[in-house]
Every structure is written in structure tokens, then in C-alpha cells.
């Protein structure tokens, strides 16, 4: 007996709506996409700083980051986040290339962070021991930075690769 995949009609309608959307064409110019990528970077940095300095302010930047992330995804028609069956052959190709870029950038950030941790350990450790006190703000700064990068990097890479519409 053949098992057929049950199509997700609701998702199909949403995808169709995004692909045919013209209300947000102003987000899809080359200049707007570059501006959104720059804004996303600023928000990620500001978010980390806010959590470290004034933890409640970090919540505000998380909300701002969510809005910027939405705008970034709309600027590339959510291509970076859709399953391949909802994309045409060209969109699949650019999405795959964007993921290669996003992986390389994420790996670079992780490598820098891990190396910085290693260097700090070497500098501050005594008898191969270094006790670090992690505050709630520090934990949130690290969490939201890596969470934000993991979620936003594919769309950022796609926004920089694609020509404006």
C-alpha cells in the first residue's frame, strides 16, 4: 500500500501568500536588505550589551530583534526557512548557498568565542583552575546572541546574496 505525504494546506496557503506578496516590496530592494542585515547586527550586539548592563532592557531588545528578524525574513520571502518542496529550483539553490555562508559565519563566531575563552582561561587561571561567576544577565547575553545568530544568519546571508526585486 502506497503511503502518500499529507500536504500541509495551511502552510501552502501561507507560502503562496508570501511568494505573491507585494505589500512589503519596499523591504526587498538591495538597499533595504543591506540595511536590515546591518540593523540585525546592531540589535544582536545591543541585545548582549543590554543584558549585561540592565537585564530588563535586554527583554526590549529581544522584542526589537524579533521584529527585525521578521522584516529580514519577509525581505527574502522566507526562502531561507522554507522546506524545499515549497521552493522552485533557483530558490533551492540560493537557499543552499546561503546556508553554506551562514554556517561559515556561525563557525567563525563560535571559533572566536571559544578561542577568547581559552585565552582568558590561560590568563586568569591559577593551578589550572578558573572560577567564573555567571550572572543571569551574562547567561541571557550569551543565550540570545547565539540564538539570534542561529535564527537570523541564513536570512542575512540570503539578503546579501540576492539582487533587489
Amino acid at each position: 500500500m502506497m503511503m502518500s505525504a499529507r500536504p500541509n494546506k495551511s502552510l501552502e496557503r501561507q507560502v503562496d501568500s508570501v511568494m505573491r506578496d507585494t505589500r512589503f516590496d519596499w523591504l526587498r530592494t538591495r538597499r533595504s536588505r543591506i540595511a536590515l542585515v546591518a540593523l540585525m547586527i546592531v540589535v544582536l550586539v545591543a541585545n548582549a550589551a543590554a543584558w549585561l548592563l540592565i537585564p530588563l532592557a535586554g527583554i526590549v531588545f529581544v522584542l526589537i530583534g524579533a521584529v527585525v528578524w521578521w522584516a529580514l525574513r519577509m525581505s527574502v520571502r522566507v526562502v531561507a526557512d522554507l522546506p524545499e518542496e515549497y521552493l522552485d529550483e533557483r530558490q533551492n539553490q540560493v537557499r543552499d548557498r546561503a546556508y553554506v555562508d551562514a554556517y561559515r559565519w556561525f563557525a567563525a563566531v563560535t571559533l572566536v568565542a571559544a578561542t577568547a575563552g581559552l585565552v582568558l582561561f590561560i590568563i586568569f587561571s591559577t593551578d589550572d583552575q578558573w572560577t567564573v561567576t555567571l550572572s543571569y544577565g551574562g547567561l541571557m547575553a550569551a543565550f540570545w546572541t547565539f540564538e539570534g545568530l542561529a535564527l537570523a544568519l541564513p536570512s542575512m546571508a540570503l539578503a546579501l546574496r540576492e539582487r533587489g526585486e
Binding site: M19, D88, E89, R90, Q91, R163, E165
Partner: protein
């Protein structure tokens, strides 16, 4: 002998001319062959090389041989007006 980078292998297209001759908009052609209208734009500008399947579907819809639609060498004026 190494592989040529893909950027050095352009695919020339008469898609815009033949699409207009059929009276089809980008959106209409895109819907008929199952791609996004933006992809049609990329094909017309020669910025994207279609798969064989897509090239054949477009050629069948426009009722032309696929080699009159896409080429590895620039189309001559006579080919364009034939």
C-alpha cells in the same frame, strides 16, 4: 585541465522576446511552468541557468525548440528575427 567556474559559463536566453511574442507576462509564464516570477526574471537576464527539465517545460509552453530559447553562445540578430 580544471573545471571552469560557473561564472564563466553564461547561458544566453531569448526568453523575454519569445514570452512577449506569446503575449505572456512573467507571472503567467511562472505559474504555467511552476516557478516564482522572480526566477523568470533571472532566466531572462541570463543570471540563472535552468535545469534541463525547466528549460524543456518552458520551450514546450512557448512552442519553440529549446535551442532557440537558450544557448551557450550569444544569439545572432538573424536568429532573433527568424
Amino acid at each position: 585541465m580544471g573545471r571552469k567556474p560557473k561564472s564563466e559559463e553564461p547561458v544566453y536566453s531569448r526568453l523575454e522576446e519569445l514570452r512577449a511574442a506569446k503575449g505572456l507576462s512573467r507571472n503567467e509564464l511562472a505559474d504555467e511552468v511552476g516557478v516564482h516570477y522572480q526566477t523568470i526574471g533571472y532566466l531572462e537576464r541570463g543570471e540563472y541557468s535552468p535545469s534541463l527539465s525547466l528549460a524543456l517545460r518552458i520551450a514546450a509552453l512557448l512552442e519553440v525548440p529549446v535551442e532557440q530559447l537558450f544557448s551557450l553562445t550569444p544569439f545572432t540578430k538573424t536568429e532573433g528575427t527568424r
